[in-house]
Symmetry: C3
């Protein structure tokens, strides 16, 4: 009985300890950025970031929140867990990112740092998607705390030391989050366990997942352009917009082609329509020209449907 | 067997051919606008357009997407088709509009052209609404390709040649889209076919349609002001806002008046609350004064409910 | 028969009379603000407000609209009533606020006045939440008309005369709206009536309420910063963001702690996650430092769950 009572306390007590630690670390290290301090004028540029930040925020909480509802049994709680994981990740990544970039000195927060923390939340939520229905909230929490550190170090090495360009975070957010989640899944589960999980989808939850997809899809131009400046920001919006519409057309076409009745498969639509946003992410701010964006988006949509159709199936055979 | 196989290929192959044609035409004709090219400064004004563009984008994909779910049988797929039609229309109207306005020369894309392409998508989706549950995806696709051309020519004649003012596209988007859709419906169907269609609405899909209505309703100030400048943009936001709230009050009042139990009819709410946004569209940027906006919105709401109640019923009688 | 017919007419006729009165009062008193009049330049700052206004608008119509759906029987109609009440309140509070601040002279409307009117709508909708399922549309309408006057006078005394600071309206919007609604409930109902009401929640409507919560939660930084300027606006965004994420973590922790199985209670998540936004509202634009925002949000989340768990239950016992 006593041990059961202790088990039940583990998660809330850990959450409380984490939050109190955050108080202390924020108190010691975090200050407002100059644009959020008195006597600063002519800040119209950063004002715009506020609108872009809100767009990214919608992707994190509505986009991912709904997308996670594709498993029926977890529909409701997955949206709540999505909120909890993001809320912890946002605070933790503000701290970890600050420590890494300022070597233990005090550092500041701004609308740009809010966008960056939301990006870290996106990374954790992508990993969460790979683990949905297979892990307890406690395991997810531990994963999030570790993943944020690995993510920040990986991004620091890539962006700061190697000077890799990845404006929309295709590598450092999407690919990293997906592989991290898959690795955790591999460590935690044997194939037998995996088969017994409640991974079933129904009409209703499929519809919610589609809503999530559409919110992610719509606001992707803001996501890919949020950290770009001036003309590069305009290019990032334009390139992402065109990559996504082309990706969408090719996803529908390929989905119909590989279906034996020529029907569109909603699972393809939910996933592959977003591939264009990921694919264009790395180069969204570059001068790749509108037709280049169309081609990148199209190839991504095509490969995503083909990959989903044939690779997943063949993996299932070999399991 | 072979012909069935061919039939199934028709749609995806057509989609692929269209997308590849788009690659070529974009490669030959489309470049970035100056504000998306390097070494441009002081672009704070167009940054704002980026937020307005995202609002319009939400109307196209969430607003229309949900609104189309009012037919139960098509709930799910209508949201997907909405996405596909918009994705094709956006690319095609970028090209058609560019050809028309630049006589075959190269032309540029910018955030303004993205808004314009989204407007063309709105036009096609309004026509789609009139055909929902009566047409195949292939028919809708062909309709979209033709409609974009007619739309662009119509708009070119109206705005460029005749210098008609229609900032929110009441005539060139809403009225045009509706009549085009109804005309296509008339051409494609005999009354008998029409009766047998699956046009049934249920509680659940009605709720989704209401969500679509509310997303359209909320962001309409951005829609009507997206292409206006400076003080005209402010007026367009204010006038649309006031027209919509007044329209809303009168729609509820009229809906209750014409109902034999004094109840509100959700079908009226879903449709007539938006009439104010359409009605104010043409003159949204003009100095019509706040009370003028209230009156325009109110008359629109009243006529829309009355029209829906009595004209639709009488049409049904004569069929 | 005749009296029944008259009863049915009461609501729509009242709505019509109200709307026509609004025409007259707007015609006599309301003009555009200078930034919405011709020949005004360099208005990039107020352009940003347009994006913030749209965020607040989403909170009013989607956030509150969905949140009100927590009662199953009222799911559908509550979203409609939410729309109607907000549409009336927006117009009425434009007038009442204008009269109060300009002593009967003509006054102007601008994007700032639109935000202020949306805030008044939030107040009325919070009161509506306390009355849901217990009142007729007519009663709600009368309440809204009266509440707007009391709200405006209360705010005028507080902000203008006493110079109280309440940038996010914690006192003048949230607390006022809640207590006004509870007072009306107390006046209108005896305990027996209250017990017989249809206040039941089900899985499905709980999910919609969670969606409402998330829309309110996401856009709260825009809400609390909408009327702040320059660096204060940045601080309001940052402080609200941090208060909300910390509030979220502590809400989940406390909800698990007070649950006998250690589970999260969705009713807590739906309500207490928002407490951080309310708590930080009064001081959101002040230099309270990021760790201060975290602590304020956390305490609010903790007290909200504890209050809901123990105070509500004990109230139920004493009833």
């Amino acid at each position: 009985m006593a041990s059961l009572w202790l088990a039940k306390l583990k998660l809330p007590v850990l959450l409380m300890v984490i939050q109190i630690t955050f108080f202390a670390l924020f108190g010691l290290f975090v200050d407002y950025d100059s644009e959020a301090r008195p006597r600063q004028y002519g800040l119209s540029e950063s004002n715009n970031n506020s609108a872009v930040f809100q767009d990214v925020h919608v992707m994190i909480f509505v986009g991912f929140g709904f997308l996670m509802m594709f498993l029926r049994r977890y529909g409701f709680s997955s949206m709540g867990l999505n909120l909890l994981l993001a809320a912890i990740t946002i605070q933790w990544s503000t701290l970890v990112g600050g420590f890494l970039h300022h070597g233990g000195d005090k550092f500041t927060v701004s609308i740009v740092s809010m966008v960056t923390s939301d990006f870290a939340a996106a990374t954790v939520l992508i990993s969460f998607g790979a683990l949905l229905g297979k892990t307890s909230p406690l395991q997810l929490l531990v994963m999030a705390l570790i993943e944020v550190i690995v993510y920040a170090v990986n991004e620091y090495i890539g962006i700061v030391l190697l000077q890799v360009s990845d404006i929309g975070g295709s590598m450092f957010i999407h690919a990293f989050g997906a592989y991290f989640g898959l690795s955790v899944a591999r460590v935690l589960y044997s194939p037998e366990v995996e088969k017994s999980t409640k991974e079933e989808s129904v009409y209703h939850s499929d519809m919610f997942a589609l809503v999530g997809t559409i919110f992610l899809w719509m606001f992707w131009p803001s996501f890919n352009s949020a950290l770009a400046m001036e003309d590069a920001q305009h290019r990032a919006v334009l390139n992402t917009y065109f990559a996504l519409v082309a990706c969408c057309v090719v996803t529908f076409a390929t989905s119909s082609l590989v279906n034996k009745n020529g029907k569109f498969d909603m699972v393809h639509i939910q996933n592959a329509t977003l591939a264009g946003g990921v694919a264009i992410g790395t180069s969204a701010d570059m001068i790749i020209m509108p037709y280049g964006a169309l081609i990148i988006g199209s190839v991504a949509g095509f490969l995503s449907v083909i990959g989903y159709k044939y690779v997943t199936v063949s993996l299932a055979i070999y399991q």
